[in-house]
Symmetry: C2
Subunit: 390 residues, 2 copies
Amino acid sequence: MNLKAEALKLHKRHKGKIEIISKIDIKGQKELSLVYTPGVAEVSREVYRCPSSIYDYTSKGNIVGVVTDGSAVLGLGNIGAEAALPVMEGKCALFKQLANIDAFPICIKSQEPGDIINIVKNIAPGFGGINLEDIASPKCFEVEKALQDIGIPVMHDDQHGTAVVVLAALMNALKVVDKKLNEIKVVISGVGAAGIAIARQLLCLGFDQNYCVPVREIILCDSNGIIHRGRTDLNTQKLELSKITNFANIKGILADALVEADVFIGVSKAGVLKRKDVSRMNPKSIIFAMANPMPEIDPKDALKVAAVFGTGRSDLPNQINNSLAFPGIFKGALMTRAKTISPAMKIAAIKALARCVRVPTKDKILPSTLDKQVVINIAAAVKKAALSGK
Amino acid sequence: MNLKAEALKLHKRHKGKIEIISKIDIKGQKELSLVYTPGVAEVSREVYRCPSSIYDYTSKGNIVGVVTDGSAVLGLGNIGAEAALPVMEGKCALFKQLANIDAFPICIKSQEPGDIINIVKNIAPGFGGINLEDIASPKCFEVEKALQDIGIPVMHDDQHGTAVVVLAALMNALKVVDKKLNEIKVVISGVGAAGIAIARQLLCLGFDQNYCVPVREIILCDSNGIIHRGRTDLNTQKLELSKITNFANIKGILADALVEADVFIGVSKAGVLKRKDVSRMNPKSIIFAMANPMPEIDPKDALKVAAVFGTGRSDLPNQINNSLAFPGIFKGALMTRAKTISPAMKIAAIKALARCVRVPTKDKILPSTLDKQVVINIAAAVKKAALSGK
């Protein structure tokens, strides 16, 4: 049976992936009188008297809302709230399986940033954190920014989850090829949510320089070519990045950007990276081709030319996947009742994830998604960073 | 240990009452590739291609959102979204325990009807039904009405759940005292969400007359006394009812209304019904005093004078509690993917609930909340009514 048939069959058999159960067995009138009226009124009274006790007496502290408007789902694009639900349920299932976090999908019909912001603000009381997911760029930036002061951590995973995993992968890949972050030139193909977040992370934007080393040079390429200071078609985020990347202000296409590059990071689409263009890169090149399901370069070609090669696929070595990051990041944030996911918490997550592989090799720069130690290590590091107040 | 201490301890030990689990065990890469990327993309594609398949491939069809703004919680009043969460979680736990329905609490910060309506409309894609809960009167009417065409059933339980249980209790109590619905005079104390819904149900408003027999006379009393056609302080709902109740247009207080009444229905507050006033009622009087936690009349007094006496309490005979109705009503609606809870579905629920007690007696007019047969019977009846298209 092929993947499609198998996935449909499995989903149909279980009617989706998530179930909500009662933590307390309501065996008789006694339990009923405690979990519901009249006993529950005393609990509500206590939360009213002391608002922070909501974390003691309700499930809030371990519940993450996985919020989308379905405007940029996986490689499928704008398929809307309903069709996004299977992906969001999958994410919720992973939250539970990997981090024992209770996650619930909220699929929003409106695709207006104002509506999304208003809804998340208003439903926040029942959640300990919000994972924004598959919201199109550039509105994802506006939505996330407006939700940073609502009292619970809100993180757009397509940005920060991806950036954390890519940076950890890059740190370990650099060990394999014996290069340093501040010496390398990085080319990023794809300047959506992920590309922008990776670039910002590589530039240490918003980060304490003591905790972060910026790379020597970054060139960003979108579907119109290299981002440079002469482009008139750039949105706010690209415009901002055009001023602090591409120092020589070169123009042209991806192939031009790749001259003497050390690292290619692809968060764009299948086939944009040609084998002959890779030959323009410096020796010991690192290629992360993460377009789904087909990478930016044919794996057979890449494996011949790259010193380290990673993709988003589980059937190749070096799978670079968000699910290595978001469970541990949220776990650490929830453990400390953090109000935001701070830059220091993200740096801590990157380093902890990189450390999960003691001796990185060409074929193993990251641990397996299902390795339970990953969440434990990231959560502990994120917790420490959160408690240090950074 | 007293009730308060015990309820707080139980809630603290479990950190609330609900947990979200994965229905599919993600044991290895194989399952991961089916429940998440790349397999889940095929499922999303299928839902996009055929929108109704969302019921086959996701959990939507069995998920009910328990939505509140915390403006009228139990007997506690307007305690807000956070303090309402323990009650909503309790309701979700009951949904699971009684009907195997997955229910999730949505506590909304804004108490503006427009916001509540907009939010419910927008988050509807992930839910099979919406249970509105503890939203203050009269805005609850506006909110519920505006949500009747969103494609999934939306029911304000404080109105219709209560009306269904009270009507079933009344049908069986009338058998005990050998009176008929169309012969009786009913006095309702309390004209909020529950009082208005009970009155409308007793008058068969919105109901097919073949399925419903209206009572002879209803007098409604709020905190300013009897509702009559001379009152200038009535909201829209009370004004509407003033035209079709209290035919003689009598004025005065509750004691005046009770003259020759057969039934007293209290959804108001402790102590409003005096023993001496009950003596004004017809022989074989029925008293449902449902104020929580203390009923409208001292149970010791009521038991001496009433032929049938019911309350909201679990420590007295004849507990009249919503939890007898909402699990079965939603179960039946979800089973048929009904788009609304129609009047015929509510009538079916009333009759099915009444039939759960074969031979009603003074001390047993309703089944126990934890009797599993109740949900089965109500769901079957509601399903039948839904499928008949009424």
